[in-house]
C-alpha cells in the first residue's frame, strides 16, 4: 500500500468525524423518540464557540469545553420545548438553525469585527497524535488527526454498549419505542428525552469543535454547510441499527474526500459541493429499496402477493 492511499483513508476520517458526532447525537435522540433536526445549527454554534473559546483562552481544549457546554445549553431550547412542552420539534429546529446562522454571523462581526471567515494568527487547534508516527497503517491514518477522531469511534461503541447492556439504555429505548408503556413502568419519559437531547447538544458541540479546531483552525460563516443534515440523513438511513452509523458517516466522508481529490485533478468545485448530498440521497433510496424488498420477502407469503 502506498502512502497516497493511506492518506486518502485519513482524509475520509477527517471528513467523517464531525458528522459522526452529530449523527450519534441524532441517533440517540431517535432512540428516545425525539426527531432531532437541529443538528446543523447546533454544530454551527459549536464550531463558533470552539473558535471563540480557543481564541480568548489560547487553549484549544478550553475551546472544546466551551463548545460542548454552550451547545448543550443551546440545545435546552429543543430539549425542553419538544420533550417537556410537546412543541413541534421540526419548527423549533428550523428556528434554532436559523438562529445559529444569524447569531454566529452577528457575533463574528461584533466580537471579532470581521465577516466571512475568522482565522486569527496562532489560533490553537486541537492536538494531533504524533506519537503514533512510525506505526504502520495506524500511524499513517491517525498520526495527523485530532484526538477527537478516535474519540468519536470510542463514543459510538460506548453508546451502543450502553443502549444494549444497561438498564438506562433499555429504558431509553423503551421511551422511544413505546412511551406509554414506559410511562406505565414509572419511567419519566419527558425527563429521559430532555436529557438525551441535551447530551446530543454536547455531542454537536464536539462535532463543531472538530470541524473548526480539528479539521482546520478557523471559523467561516455557515461552515457546517449542510453536514448536520447529512447526519440526519445518516440517522434515517441506518434506522435502528446503530452499528451501521459509522459506515454511513464514513461513506459520506469518502464522498467528500473523493470530491477533493477529483478537484485536485481538475474537476469543477461544484461537483465536490454537490456529490455528498446527491450520494446520500441515492444511498437512502437504494437502502430503502433493498430493505423493503427483504421485508416483503420475509413477511408476505407468496400466495397473497397481489
Amino acid at each position: 500500500m502506498s502512502i497516497f492511499e493511506w492518506s486518502f483513508v485519513a482524509a475520509v476520517l477527517t471528513s467523517a468525524t464531525p458528522i459522526l458526532f452529530a449523527a450519534l447525537a441524532g441517533a440517540l435522540c431517535a432512540q428516545a423518540g425525539v426527531f432531532n433536526i437541529a443538528l446543523e445549527g447546533q454544530m454551527l454554534w459549536g464550531a463558533f464557540a470552539a473558535v471563540a473559546g480557543s481564541y480568548y483562552t489560547g487553549n484549544a481544549w478550553a475551546g472544546v469545553l466551551v463548545a460542548v457546554l454552550s451547545t448543550a445549553i443551546y440545545s435546552v431550547i429543543l430539549a425542553v420545548g419538544a420533550a417537556r412542552w410537546k412543541a413541534d420539534p421540526i419548527i423549533i429546529a428550523i428556528g434554532t438553525n436559523l438562529l445559529s446562522l444569524g447569531l454566529t454571523g452577528f457575533l463574528l462581526r461584533v466580537l471579532f469585527d470581521t465577516s466571512g471567515s475568522f482565522a486569527p494568527q496562532g489560533l490553537d487547534g486541537i492536538g494531533t497524535m504524533p506519537f503514533l508516527k512510525g506505526i504502520p497503517v495506524i500511524g499513517d491514518v491517525f498520526a495527523g488527526q485530532s484526538v477527537l477522531v478516535p474519540l468519536a469511534f470510542v463514543l459510538i461503541v460506548a453508546a451502543g454498549l450502553w443502549l444494549r447492556l444497561t438498564p438506562g439504555g433499555l429504558r431509553l429505548r423503551g421511551v422511544g419505542e413505546h412511551p406509554d408503556a414506559a410511562a406505565t413502568l414509572g419511567i419519566g419519559v419527558a425527563r429521559y428525552q430532555t436529557w438525551v437531547t441535551i447530551l446530543g447538544g454536547g455531542l454537536c458541540g464536539l462535532a463543531g469543535a472538530q470541524l473548526s479546531l480539528g479539521n482546520v483552525t478557523l471559523f467561516t460563516e455557515n461552515m457546517t454547510a449542510g453536514r448536520g443534515w447529512i447526519a440526519v440523513a445518516a440517522v434515517i438511513l441506518v434506522a435502528n441499527k446503530a452499528f451501521w452509523l459509522p459506515v454511513a458517516c464514513l461513506g459520506f466522508g469518502a464522498a467528500e474526500a473523493l470530491g477533493f481529490r477529483l478537484q485536485g485533478i481538475g474537476a469543477p468545485q461544484q461537483l465536490t459541493d454537490a456529490a455528498p448530498y446527491a450520494i446520500t440521497l441515492v444511498v437512502l433510496v437504494i437502502m430503502r429499496v433493498v430493505v423493503t424488498r427483504r421485508r416483503t420477502h420475509a413477511l408476505t407469503p407468496k400466495e397473497t402477493l397481489v
Binding site: 420545548g81 444569524g102 459541493d273
Partner: protein, 346 residues
C-alpha cells in the same frame, strides 16, 4: 373583556413578533449598540419613499417564497429546498431567454413558464421519494437543494459565463427578454403582479376548492384523510410541484429583472427562502396572511442594510430575529395548553 382580547387569534403571532423584537433589542444592547437607533434605521431604510420601489419588489419575492413554504405546510410537510428550486428557475429562465433566440413578445412568458415547469418538476421529485421510499420531504428537499445550486453555479461559471468578466455571472440578457417594468420603476415589475396573482390563486384554491380542502384535512389529520379516501401521495406531488413552480417563477422574475443576468449566489444570498419560510410559519400557512407577515420580514431584510450603515448593527440580526420568531411560535403551544387548562378550571 381582557380575557376575550387575549384569546384573539392575532395575539400569538403579534406577541411572537413583539417578543422577538425585544429579544433582538437585548442582543443589540449586549453588543454595546443602541437598539432604538437600529430599529429606527430599519424602518427608515425600508419605508423611505425613495426605497419603496425596491422594498415592494423584495416583498413580492418574500411573498412568493412564503408560498413555496406555505403550500406544502398546508398538508403538514416542510419544503426546505426553496433555494435549489429558486436557483433552478432562475437559470432555466436565463437559458430560455438568452439561448433560444425567441422574439421579444414571447421570450419573457416562455422563460417564466419553462422556469415554473423545471422547478416544479424538480420539487415534485420529493413526493415519490417520500411515498415510495419513506424519505421525509423535509430531508429530501434539503438534500436536493445544494445539488441544484451546484449545477446552476457550474453553468454560470463555465458554459454560460460572461467572457472576460471576473465575476461569476452570465452576460446581460437581450433587451427583448427584460421583464416589463411598471411605469418608471426600476425594481418593481410585472413580476410583482404575477406573484400577487399566484397568491390569489392559492387563496382561492385553498379556501374554495376540493383540493384545497383535501390538503387541509391531510394536514390536520393524515390518518383521517387516508381513511376518508384521500391520497396523500398524490396531494404531496401536487403540493410540491406547485411550490416548486412558484419558486421557479420567483427565480425567473429575479433573473429577468434588473440587472438582467444570472449572478452566482445573487438569488440565495438575500435569504428570500428562509424569510419566506418564516413568513409562512408566522402566518400558520394561511394564504391570506402570508402577504401580511411577509411585510415584517421584508422590512427586516431591506432595512437590515441601512441598519448596518447607520447604526453599525450587523445585518445578521435579521436572521437572528427570524429564528427567534420561529422558536417562539413553536413554543406557543405551552401558552395554548395553559389557556386551555385555565378554561377548564373556571
Amino acid at each position: 373583556m381582557i380575557a376575550r382580547l387575549t384569546r384573539h387569534p392575532a395575539v400569538v403571532p403579534i406577541g411572537a413578533v413583539v417578543l422577538a423584537i425585544l429579544i433582538g433589542a437585548v442582543v443589540i444592547l449586549l453588543a454595546g449598540l443602541n437598539p432604538i437607533d437600529a430599529y429606527a434605521a430599519v424602518l427608515q431604510g425600508s419605508l423611505d419613499v425613495r426605497n419603496l420601489d425596491y422594498t415592494f419588489s423584495v416583498w413580492g419575492f418574500i411573498c412568493g417564497m412564503g408560498l413555496v413554504a406555505a403550500i406544502p405546510l398546508r398538508m403538514g410537510e416542510f419544503n426546505l429546498g426553496g433555494n435549489g428550486q429558486l436557483v433552478l428557475g432562475g437559470i432555466t429562465a436565463y437559458v430560455v431567454a438568452s439561448q433560444l433566440g425567441l422574439p421579444g413578445i414571447v421570450a419573457v412568458p416562455f422563460a417564466l413558464i419553462a422556469a415554473m415547469l423545471v422547478s416544479g418538476g424538480f420539487a415534485a421529485v420529493s413526493a415519490p421519494l417520500a411515498t415510495r421510499f419513506g424519505i421525509p420531504i423535509i430531508i429530501s428537499t434539503l438534500l436536493l437543494s445544494p445539488v441544484a445550486v451546484a449545477v446552476a453555479s457550474y453553468l454560470v461559471r463555465f458554459p454560460l459565463a460572461e467572457k472576460g468578466s471576473g465575476n461569476a455571472q452570465t452576460p446581460v440578457l437581450p433587451e427583448d427578454a427584460h421583464i416589463w417594468s411598471l411605469g418608471d420603476l426600476r425594481y418593481t415589475t410585472v413580476g410583482l403582479l404575477l406573484i400577487i396573482a399566484v397568491m390569489v390563486i392559492f387563496y382561492v384554491v385553498d379556501s374554495r376548492s376540493a383540493v384545497g380542502f383535501e390538503l387541509r384535512v391531510t394536514g390536520a389529520n393524515r390518518r383521517f384523510g387516508e381513511y376518508a379516501g384521500l391520497k396523500p401521495g398524490r396531494l404531496a406531488l401536487g403540493a410540491m410541484g406547485s411550490a416548486g413552480a412558484v419558486a421557479g417563477l420567483v427565480g425567473a422574475i429575479i433573473v429577468l429583472s434588473s440587472p438582467y443576468r444570472f449572478i452566482d449566489g445573487a438569488l440565495i444570498s438575500p435569504g428570500y427562502t428562509f424569510a419566506g419560510l418564516a413568513a409562512a410559519l408566522l402566518a400558520g400557512g394561511r394564504p391570506a396572511l402570508v402577504p401580511v407577515t411577509a411585510i415584517l420580514f421584508t422590512i427586516l431584510q431591506v432595512g437590515g442594510a441601512s441598519m448596518e450603515r447607520t447604526a453599525e448593527v450587523p445585518r445578521q440580526l435579521s436572521d437572528v430575529l427570524q429564528g427567534v420568531v420561529i422558536v417562539i411560535l413553536a413554543l406557543r403551544v405551552v401558552l395554548d395548553r395553559r389557556r386551555a387548562g385555565a378554561g377548564k378550571d373556571s
